[in-house]
Chain length 139, copies 4
């Protein structure tokens, strides 16, 4: 038996609020999802006027960031034709989103959950996810 740590609902809602604040600052409405250490959805918000098709993508980015303990931005490079993980997006019933916007949340070196953001360019999604993760880490 092992003892592990995970985000809880309070953490998840805090991370989403931090993401919404960043998205409002830049003017790009976003879908934001947070999963726990087991990859299970804890909380989600779709900002008004953001893309409907991004619900699934935001959740998939959060899931992938925890499933492989990596930023999906890094996964994107590994999943290009010719790279190590080309084809990974077909695994796990299509849940592995391989573009920027998914960021693991850590406590020290341990991944305790992840945030996924979708609604703009890869750079925009990534910057909102990063801002939320970093503001959460600062406490």
């Amino acid at each position: 038996m092992r003892t592990t740590q995970t985000l809880d609902l309070n953490d998840a809602r805090t991370i989403i609020d931090l993401g919404i604040a960043e998205a409002e600052r830049t003017g790009n409405p976003m879908n934001i999802a947070v999963v726990d250490a087991g990859g299970c959805l804890l909380a989600f918000a779709r900002m008004d006027d953001s893309w409907r098709g991004s619900v699934d993508i935001a959740i998939g980015k959060a899931w992938a960031a925890r499933a492989f303990d990596v930023e999906t931005k890094a996964l994107a490079k590994l999943a290009q034709p010719g790279a190590d993980f080309y084809g990974i997006h077909a695994s796990n019933d299509g849940k592995v989103m391989i573009f920027a916007g998914g960021v693991p949340i850590k406590e020290g070196e341990t991944v305790i959950g992840a945030v996924g953001v979708s609604g703009g360019t890869g750079k925009e999604d990534e910057s909102v996810a990063e801002a939320a993760a970093q503001a959460f880490a600062r406490g």
Copy 2:
């Protein structure tokens, strides 16, 4: 062309907070989802210690309540063997949850979204969804 009305993210988060308050009052942790008038997920929260298998169910109940503009409790009766809609749970890629806990949100006679709750018995789920919907309607 038509003008329609829908819940927005603020409404969805308010409904979820009302649902959480009711679930805390009764001591049964719940998964709570809110969809807009288009049936698209607006917000979601999984309370600590609630069932992991209820993420999909809460979202499915909210979706079904809007998809058919009916409480899923009523849908349950219609979906029994021998009844009119027997088999409906196999439609729409399995998104039609046919047990109690999905409640449409209305403005006057118009459905503007729905809430779905999962985490306990049908009666418990239904009472949290109803309480949230009614408290929201009172404003």
Copy 3:
């Protein structure tokens, strides 16, 4: 943030060995799966001459027993026509197995994983899963 406990791979292999021993004793070859506290597969074994169609079912029973913190035997009753959870087998992309053979593994009152068994009648599956869970609990 929360601290939780989960089965590890060693535990999972022990539980499978206990299940195999029980299945050999009764002469019914089985598929046996163990998931961790997050519902994620830890270990699996398909005994020689057991059903190929039971791979997915054993994994689904283990998943369901953790997803709803309940023996799937109890879930079976709740999922009958007219009962509270009728239709639940259509949720979660068909992963919710609603017949006997899935048993949560607990540490005190906390569910830390689950075992799922498939290969015979509901009674046979259940008795192997129960035997493995109880032998594991005795340590």
Copy 4:
């Protein structure tokens, strides 16, 4: 009528143990799956701290290595844009993993099953799968 040969559960568990030993030697925790000559899962183990997203991938690599009687490393080249099998990862419900880490197990020239490994780089996955297959062949 034909007589065929296949790995059995004992073989599969031996191969997994050999893979775990190699993974422990190199310090990269892995997911390891073994399928029989029919492509059906025989045994699986997810080592502690290995990726959750690799459960499906390890199983998919083992399946693909038997489905096409080829190392998935070789399949990767054939599945690149412009190559003969481009698009193959979309077939078979997404089960065809097209990156390194799946290795057929042979008796003489006959494929009798396969092992799939996932948890690190392509090179790491491949080397664990190869080590396990070769140690098993040596007996």
